[in-house]
Amino acid sequence: MQSWRRRKSLWLALSASWLLLVLLGGFSLLRLALPPRPRPGAPQGWPRWLDAELLQSFSQAGELPEDAASPQAPHGGSCNWGACFDTSKCRGDGLKVFVYPASGPISETHHRILASIEGSRFHTFSPAGACLLLLLSLDAQTGECSSMPLQWNRGRNHLVLRLHPAPCPKTFQLGQAMVAEASPTVDSFRPGFDVALPFLPEAHPLRGGAPGQLQQHSPQPGIALLALEEERGGWRTADTGSSACPWDARCEQDPGPGQTQRGETLPNATFCLISGHRPEAASRFLQALQAGCIPVLLSPRWELPFSEVIDWTKAAIVADERLPLQVLAALQEMSPARVLALRQQTQFLWDAYFSSVEKVIHTTLEVIQDRIFGTSAHPSLLWNSPPGALLALSTFSTSPQDFPFYHLQQGSRPEGRFSALIWVGPPGQPPLKLIQAVAGSQHCAQILVLWSNERPLPSSWPETAMPLTVIDGHRKVSDRFFPYSTIRTDAILSLDARSSLSTSEVDFAFVVWQSFPERMVGFLTSSHFWDEAHGGWGYTAERTNEFSMVLTTAAFYHRYYHTLFTHSLPKALRTLADEAPTCVDVLMNFLVAAVTKLPPIKVPYGKQRQEAAPLASGGPGPRPKPQAPAPNCVNQIAAAFGHMPLLSSRLRLDPVLFKDPVSVQRKKYRSLEKP
């Protein structure tokens, strides 16, 4: 009985198992039979074809059209660089610009702009020798538009410059002329041919220009995230937390705590929203740039200024106005590193290309010159990082490593050698002791003597292991900063024949220069100051607690500054330096400070304690200390620059163990401390 029951239960279990088996197995078989439906989770990709290998290539190898097309004629109506610009006139010394003289009376601004172009290195007086003919169309307000000029030639090689977008009635067909105008619409703009200018306000300064407003790198805690441009002018700051779509009038019920700043005040916010519809908004763009407020352009219909060369993604954000929430969220979540970079770039761009009318015009010409230069144009890095393409001349080099500014970005280091350039002015004694001292430096690569006085060249020079080259100068002070091709190192030690330096001083100064290759490193200093009594700038060589210039009679600097001095300064300034030799120091310091926006560096100089009169002790020379170094020279140069670039420093760089009460044996530069 028991066995039967057991058997029954066993049978039961067995049949249950069979049932289970059939059920489960049946399902599996069913699944195998039917093709599986795509499951929602895993994406169904592009099929892997079994015969993928057998597919034919899109172009049959060797399928080349036999009837190669002949050179195409340019399409009528539209122009591009290759078709409508004749570069054959521009060989040689690059861009030469002829400006049509104005017909009839011209405004003060027009006059000054003309003068500024005439003073620049691009200008030529002969329309035949020019490769670009510039037609200024500036005085929109007078209603007088230029008429067809004489050399028009269907506008070939012409640039029509319209600084203010007040439309001029088209008296003649533009033909093949390039147009540089403010905020051109995307549809009419011909990329690579026309030039997009910024929308300048009426009162934009001609020269110099206001510096950027940014006082600090990172945004101040607590300032508004967003500023919105108002149609009537001015800015309104908005807190993004308060309303979801702060720039859309439809969804805004409550203006909230936002404040309206009327007038031409600059916005104080991290981001500035600018509408892309109205070209007038383009002037807001410039305002935001100056204020260091990152422009957020909503679907701009106009071309950004100088978009051909400036990488605007580094300084502004172009967003789609149709996605307000996404843009807002993206702004809120933007990493501090990106915000920091964008803010700084706005300031750099403002200062390099936009802060004055002169800069805008020079940038325009530089853009065209780059097109002509082709391969020797500025690399993008030179346009988009300090000090900018106007101050980094591509005629010097197209490799960023050759400049003093880009070593970090390039991962390169300044060279470990320098060339000493000794200027021998009157009375013309060969600087034997100085040559010995300099040649003793382990970093010295060569010595150049610039003989610049009436006496004949001495026949014999001291025996040194250093290669010594003698250059016969033109007896002009500005010769000192001529880019001699014989200078082969990046660093130059500029010396006067009457300077006196020890080897140790030279060595240490050079090591310091390697850390600051873009600055001037000098031994003796002077400063500028604002003279309330005379209402002008003053100059002093007294020893004070701060300085803003170093004397170039003994200073290290980069070879590039010779090129910059000779090729970028207006001729008038170089003439000024030749006429008043004391000014040449000031001029060089102005130039370097304008480029670097930093003060020079001072290193210790042994002789200073000993005697009151340093370096140049006797006779008239490039830096006769007792004579007043013409304070109006500072004023003249400052006026020509349009602003005061000099900055003061309160520190001196000494060797690490300088004058420390430890054994002299420990010290590397021990002779620096000898009394």
Binding site: W46, F58, P65, A68, P191, S399, R652
Partner: protein
């Protein structure tokens, strides 16, 4: 490690190997059942690089889930490192060892051979001899079955029945197991790629008949821009800032008479769609897609019928005038006039085209792509370093217009050997390889190898503007000389072609030699490197072309997440070598802003108060922040704090960590931060003020007082920390240092590797970490100010003796080595200068100096 009880035996984790021997077939498993004797607890880990195995096992997990309680317990158990290391492991090892000794001795006594190893829970015993002698093992095995399992499962029956039942049961059991396998295995494999993607033939795709009167899209709209013709709302909802791309299923289109409209799909277009499908952009959900890619192949216009293809496009399910549709075309136009854009009417669809001219290219809407060269895949040209090559200029195109060929040959006549003009070979015996051969007179050259012999390679316009030879030229590291007026170079929206090519106007063709000669050698080498890099990154495969195209469109839609110029254009070598200083703008912050002093303190209240009083005398101090790092003790009451002229804030921290000193507190309102320890009372007010002034001139650097140096120890082959009295500095102590507050953000959120936790765990070297961080990110050296060499007050030296000093130095050296390995480089920069006031130690009346009291050593 857990079961290695033999102390002499070394242990090495498989995972510590540099690379696994066969990563696809090496799987590392570990479970608690052995090491912790918790065999019932189904908890273990599997490390494998084989994606299939991982997904298969992952799908099994569903049936073997662990309860939350068990997970929690396990987490607690594993987290308790002290218990594991100090209690459990020693005890476990001791017991294992004892058991092992006992068993092995017994076995030895019995004379049974076995393997003695210092690890594991099992002993490998060789019983073969015993089994032969007697039926010991059989008995052993049998006894297990009969005595334990047997009675419970199988009722005592007659042997015949028993066998019958056993057979029946086994069949059922087998069936169940098989079913189970079916249930589980296909699941896991299904989700892996191979199973998922159907393998079918291209010939089997569905056929779609296009009626002759079906609608045709309008011609392309030349005024289209992203904000007018592109529907950005489809791309709106994406937190990852990545567009979603949908690919239409492949169909075969025929007209009313059954004649196919085009070849169904070419090999390249199939590769292109596969690449998109494998990328992050892909979605199979048509409703979530932002961009649609038709599977209608229009790469080559010559292989399709224009009107019918347009009709096929128009009937796509989401066509909607072509909005958000992307077409890829490499060979546009057809004889005789060869248009520069695809002739198929496509309305608003975006066109990724090879061979655009300025007249047809819609800037900011279309994408200019390269013409893919099949030779890229066929021929392996190893990279050839830059430098002068045998020929200066080479022209290797065939089928050039006679006018151009005359110009080129004139160049060859003029410049002789350095110019080589090649043409088709006419007299080759075997015709098949003629595309890989070029001839000059009777000389035969291998193509494209010959391109590697030239510095510059001419890329002239043919019938079309876009030429596949451009890709070959770049691959050979030859600088392309593009002579094709109005040609939009590939990816010109993002690639800077000035760095890799020379563009010469067609009318200047006769001057080409002198133009090229004027380029300095250094620039040529740079261009050669850049050309090769462009090929590697954007030309070498259809996949590279497809992904670059999608990235460009993605960047337009999410401009705030766009890839920068440098990322597109800088070759990897430059990217690694370059430093982009986050504070690159030369800007001297206004003095009026002042600085915030942050004092980290634990419980030295008296000393803290002295520091506060001293620091508050510095004129430029604008705020004082005390970071109270002691959780067990409250800071003193408000009334007890010294009264100072600037706001004083106390921040309490949640944990006693050194990194609290470098936290970017909201209370810091100035850019300048002075980090100062609560025992730094020796710095004078002049010294601190001068430090701040120096920081203003160097806002992107660490400005500190005592300097330290790292040195390479040649004997030990590692870095060494050097203390005072050297002629050089590479670090400053942050016991008192000025720096930009942005570095606080970097220290807290962007410190590489585990350095931050490591510093907190060791309670040391936070200053070295900061020095590394700042030097790494700015590429600049520190500035040491004033002669000060140490922070110890003279009377404190008695406390820490020489030995303490030495261990300190060893620890600090360890830190440098550790950080250098995490950073992967030694970012610290050594300099030989320090900053002093202009008139420091000059022979000048003291009272006229700005900073007369600059302190001592």
């Amino acid at each position: 490690m857990l079961s290695v009880f033999e102390e002499s035996a070394g242990y090495r984790s498989v995972l510590s190997l540099e690379r696994l021997p066969d990563p696809q077939r090496t799987h590392v498993m570990w479970a608690t059942s052995k090491d912790f004797g918790m065999s019932g607890l189904r908890f273990g880990t599997l490390y494998t690089e084989n994606q299939d195995v991982a997904t298969a096992v992952a799908s099994l997990c569903r049936y073997h889930g662990l309860s939350g309680l068990v997970q929690y317990q396990m987490a607690q158990l594993l987290r308790d490192r002290d218990w594991i290391n100090q209690v459990y492991l020693p005890e476990n090892h001791a017991r294992l060892k004892a058991a092992h000794t006992y068993v092995s001795e017994e076995l030895r006594a019995l004379g049974i051979p076995f393997l003695s190893r210092g690890a594991g829970f099992f002993i490998w015993v060789d019983l073969r001899k015993e089994c032969e002698k007697e039926a010991v093992c059989v008995i052993m095995c049998a006894s297990v079955k009969y005595n334990i399992r047997g009675p419970a499962l199988i009722p005592r029956m007659k042997t015949k029945h028993r066998i019958y039942y056993i057979t029946l049961f086994s069949i059922v059991l087998l069936g169940l197991i098989a079913t189970g396998m079916f249930q589980f295995w296909p699941h896991s494999i299904e989700s892996s790629n191979d199973w998922n993607v159907e393998k079918r033939s291209v010939r089997d795709v569905p056929v779609v008949r296009l009626p002759a009167d079906s609608p045709i899209p309008e011609r392309g709209d030349l005024s289209c821009r992203m904000h007018t013709c592109f529907d950005v709302y489809r791309c709106g909802f994406n937190p990852k800032n990545k567009i979603k791309v949908y690919i239409y299923a492949l169909k075969k289109y025929v007209d009313d008479f059954g004649v196919p409209v085009s070849n169904t799909i070419s090999r390249e277009y199939n590769e292109l769609l596969t690449a998109i499908s494998d990328s992050d952009y892909y979605t199979d959900d048509i409703n979530r897609a932002c961009l649609f890619v038709p599977s209608i192949d229009v790469l080559n216009q010559n292989t399709l019928r224009i009107k019918e293809t347009a009709q096929a496009l128009a009937q796509l399910s989401r066509w909607d005038r072509g909005t958000n549709h992307l077409l890829f075309n490499m060979l546009p136009g057809g004889p005789p006039d060869y248009n520069t854009a695809l002739d198929v009417p496509r309305d608003r669809a975006l066109l990724a085209g090879g061979g655009f001219s300025t007249w047809t290219y819609r800037q900011g809407y279309d994408v200019s792509i390269p013409v893919y060269s099949p030779l890229s895949a066929e021929v392996d040209l190893p990279e050839k370093g830059p430098g002068p090559r045998r020929y200066f200029l080479i022209s290797s195109q065939v089928g050039l217009h006679p006018e151009y060929r005359e110009d080129l040959e004139a160049l060859q006549v003029k410049h002789g050997e350095s110019v080589l003009v090649l043409d088709k070979c006419t007299n080759l015996s075997e015709g098949g390889l003629s595309i890989r051969k070029r001839c000059h007179k009777h000389q035969v050259f291998d193509y494209p190898q010959v391109l590697q012999e030239a510095t510059f390679c001419v890329v002239l316009r043919g019938a079309r503007l876009g030429q596949a030879i451009l890709s070959d030229v770049l691959q050979a590291g030859c600088v392309p000389v593009v002579i094709a007026d109005s040609y939009i170079l590939p990816f010109s929206e993002v690639l800077d072609w000035k760095r890799a090519s020379v563009v010469v106007p067609e009318e200047k063709m006769s001057d080409v030699y002198s133009i090229l000669q004027s380029i300095p050698q250094r620039q040529i080498e740079e261009m050669q490197r850049q050309a090769r890099w462009f090929w590697e990154a954007y030309f070498q495969s259809i996949k590279a072309i497809a992904l670059a195209t999608l990235q460009i469109i993605n960047d337009r839609i999410y401009p705030y997440a766009a890839i920068s110029y440098e990322e597109w254009n800088d070759p990897p070598a430059v990217k690694w070598g370059s430093v982009s200083n986050p504070l690159f703008l030369p800007l001297i912050p206004p003095q009026s802003q002042g600085f915030t002093a942050i004092v980290l303190t634990y419980d030295r209240v008296e000393s803290l108060f002295r520091v506060i009083t001293e620091v508050s005398k510095v004129p430029s101090l604008s705020k004082l922040l005390v970071v109270w790092n002691n959780q067990n003790k409250n800071p003193p009451e408000d009334s007890l704090w010294p009264k100072i002229r600037v706001p004083l804030k106390v921040v309490r921290t949640a944990e006693n960590k050194l990194s609290n000193r470098f936290f970017p507190y909201d209370e810091i309102e100035t850019e300048a931060v002075l980090a100062i320890d609560d025992d730094i009372i020796m710095l004078t007010s002049d010294e601190l003020q001068f430090g701040y002034e120096v920081w203003r001139e160097f806002p992107d650097r660490l400005v500190g007082y005592p300097g330290r140096l790292h040195l390479w120890d040649h004997e030990m082959n590692k870095w060494k920390y050097e203390s005072e009295w050297t002629n050089e500095v590479s670090m400053v102590l942050t016991g008192a240092a000025f720096y930009h507050k942005y570095f606080n953000y970097l220290y807290t959120y962007k410190m590489p590797g585990d350095i931050k936790n490591w510093v907190d765990a060791h309670m040391n070297c936070e200053d070295i970490a900061m020095n590394f961080l700042v030097a790494n990110v700015t590429g600049k050296a520190v500035i040491k100010v004033t002669p000060r060499k140490k922070f110890k007050c003279p009377e404190c030296t008695a406390i820490d003796g020489l030995s303490l000093d030495q261990t300190h130095m060893v620890e600090r050296s360890e830190c440098i080595n550790k950080f250098a390995s995490v950073f992967g480089t030694m970012p610290l920069k050594v300099v030989e200068h320090r900053a002093d006031p202009v008139l420091y130690k000059d022979d000048f009346p003291e009272k006229l100096k700005s900073f007369p009291n600059i302190g001592s050593l």
